[in-house]
């Protein structure tokens, strides 16, 4: 069944001389939870607007459920959508807001009532039918917006930073709930956010956008652990990016240390060696040399509770961040201590600068 499939084919949008979205192509399977992640100005919101039909693409095609919808206005696309600040109609109560997509279609009254009740139950807002938006908390408004987006059983739901206005605890709670509802209904979700943690938690696949293009696309673990560029590496969490250059089959790191890097090594002679702080092992300095070992000196140690983050100065003045689990019997290194850093070759990659 292709009802929930989404595809963009070389979609481009320009505003004057500025190209906001530059030839974006992607294919989303029915029922997939797909996230567009990127900093502000990366084109993710414009991409979503083209999917919704608010903005018409200058080039390329927008396919929804296997049909070309490039020039179809929003009302003809049959989508559900959750807006950034919820966009709850202030002159309508909760029930009327949720019923809106059905009222517009002039659905039978009985059907409307049944579907509204079902949607409200799904978001746990039964009993709030007669309230108005200003009488609801942020989390409740969020649920109303969610109920309104799914009430007409759309195959595809768009979500534009839906949790941006909520505080941290509530946000986590809603992440789980949104994920659960979308799975239960089997809807395709296209989710826009600038919060990388949210993207990693919720998505089946993530597309990271940079200046109007998709920098990388893949499952959360893949894009996190195997970034293709230093932009992706740095945008998704903390990353060490050490100046390095190619030396035969290996890599020469700071101080000429011979290092090995995982697959995806680069063709250019110079680049940045990528390694996540939690993949770096820190040990007291002991004599001996080996691959993927760097001597250094602790400059700074931040105690974060379950983790201790060290900033370690390595040769040539570079700094390597290293997260050590504060597990049973863990020893703490003090600033000034000489230490030895090491990691597995497959956890590191040589990326273009």
């Amino acid at each position: 069944m292709s009802a929930g499939s989404v595809a963009l084919e070389g979609v481009t949008k320009r505003y004057g001389a500025e190209t906001v979205v530059a030839g974006v192509s992607l294919a989303i399977a029915p029922g997939e939870f797909f996230t567009l992640l990127g900093p502000s100005g990366s084109g993710k919101t414009t991409t979503l607007s083209m999917l919704a039909g608010f903005v018409m693409a200058d080039e390329g095609r927008v396919m929804l459920g296997g049909q070309d919808m490039t020039h179809v206005p929003p009302r003809g696309r049959g989508l559900g959508m959750v807006f950034q600040n919820y966009a709850i109609f202030p002159h309508l109560n909760v029930a009327e807001n949720v019923a809106f997509p059905l009222t517009v279609k002039r659905a039978p009254k009985a059907e409307i009532a049944a579907r509204v009740a079902e949607a409200l139950e799904m978001v746990k807002l039964t009993g709030f039918e007669q309230r108005y938006a200003r009488q609801l908390s942020g989390g409740q408004q969020q649920r109303v917006a969610l109920a309104r987006a799914i009430v007409a059983h759309p195959r595809i739901v768009l979500m534009d930073e839906p949790l941006g206005a909520l505080d941290k605890n509530l946000r986590y709670h809603m992440q789980v709930e949104i994920k659960e509802i979308s799975r239960r209904l089997g809807t395709t979700v296209i989710y826009v956010t600038h919060d990388q943690e949210e993207a990693l938690t919720m998505s089946d696949r993530i597309a990271i956008m940079e200046r109007g293009r998709i920098a990388q696309m893949g499952p959360p673990r893949e894009v996190y652990e195997k970034p293709d560029s230093s932009f992706v590496a740095a945008f998704l969490g903390e990353a060490n990016l050490l100046p390095a250059r190619r030396d035969g089959n290996a890599v020469a790191g700071p101080g000429g240390a011979r290092l090995e890097a995982g697959a995806g090594a680069l063709s250019a002679p110079e680049g940045l060696l990528f390694i996540r702080p939690e993949k770096v092992t820190i040990a007291p300095d002991a004599p001996g040399e080996g691959p993927n070992m760097l001597p250094g000196r602790v400059r700074h140690a931040s105690f974060l509770g379950n983790v201790v983050r060290y900033a370690v100065e390595v040769p040539e003045g570079a700094t390597v961040l290293c997260d050590a689990a504060n597990g049973a019997g863990a020893t703490l290194h003090a600033p000034g201590d000489p230490v030895r850093l090491s990691w597995r070759a497959e956890d590191s990659r040589l990326l273009a600068a």
Binding site: F54, M81, F83, H91, V104
Partner: protein, 268 residues
């Protein structure tokens, strides 16, 4: 040096005096209109409604009331309708020369009404439109529309564009978005605009003097024509009617604002 307490007291006294001075002439006219004396005296020695009887008993004054109401109502409908379209375009639209158009739409307020009036008269005289009431309403619309624009632009600015987008995603046509979302949310502003454009026409004198002719004298024109002859007490009664209309319009507007901003259920 005066102490701060003294200064504050002095300022307060001054403001009370000035506010009294602003309101007093209007109140005094209203009271004097109920005088039973032969000429306007304040305070009146006896009270009666004789000036109202004379006012309402005179067919020319009665005709003037009818003219004013008709012209005012038509102006209100016309300017609110045209003004709403323009205000929506100004608030939501992006187009070249926007600032120029915005300034242009407001110029009828700034250009002396005599000039506008003479020019429209120049046109109307050649087209035989002097004394035609709907035409007077159209002319009043020129000066009422800026008032409508200012009110409706601020009303429409409070409507979140995301609500319009939401309505479109959930199946509304442009017209559906307007009917289901924009209009209900801007309704208090629309009523305000209709009220104040009515008031603008109801109180307008300069354009009316030129366009009214003999057939279509409005209340202000009747007042003007009789004041040029003498300060007769009937006019106090007419004035009081105009003041009452203004007061009622302001009261309705205040009520709407309270409903709009206040707690509790929205007006539905």
């Amino acid at each position: 040096m005066m102490g701060p307490v003294w200064r504050a007291t002095l300022l307060r006294a001054l403001v009370v005096l000035l506010c009294f001075g602003l309101l007093a002439p209007i109140i005094i006219v209203a009271i004097a209109s109920f005088s039973g004396d032969g000429y306007l005296k304040f305070p009146p020695e006896s009270l009666s409604t004789r000036w109202y009887e004379r006012f309402l008993g005179d067919p020319r004054w009665r005709q003037a009331i009818v003219n004013s109401l008709m012209i005012g109502a038509l102006t209100s409908v016309l300017s609110t309708f045209l003004g709403f379209l323009a205000a929506y375009a100004m608030v939501r639209g992006q187009f070249p020369f926007k600032r120029v158009i915005a300034a242009l739409l407001l110029t009828p307020v700034i250009v002396p009404h005599v000039i506008t009036a003479v020019a429209i008269y120049f046109l109307s005289a050649r087209m035989g439109l002097v004394g035609v009431r709907p035409w007077i309403a159209v002319a009043h619309t020129v000066v009422a529309m800026p008032v409508v624009l200012v009110i409706l632009q601020s009303a429409l600015r409070t409507v979140d564009p995301a609500l319009e987008r939401a309505a479109m995603v959930f199946g509304c046509t442009r017209w559906g978005v307007f009917r289901r979302v924009v209009l209900p949310l801007a309704l208090p502003g629309v009523v305000s605009a209709a009220l104040f454009s009515f008031l603008t026409s109801f109180d307008e004198l300069v354009i009316s003097i030129f366009l009214a002719g003999f057939r279509s004298e409005t209340l202000p024109v009747r007042i003007w024509n009789s004041l040029l002859l003498e300060v007769e007490p009937t006019i106090a009664a007419v004035s009081t009617l105009l003041i009452a209309v203004t007061t009622i319009a302001l009261a309705i507007d205040a009520l709407l604002r309270r409903l709009r901003g206040g707690a509790g259920m929205p007006a539905r």
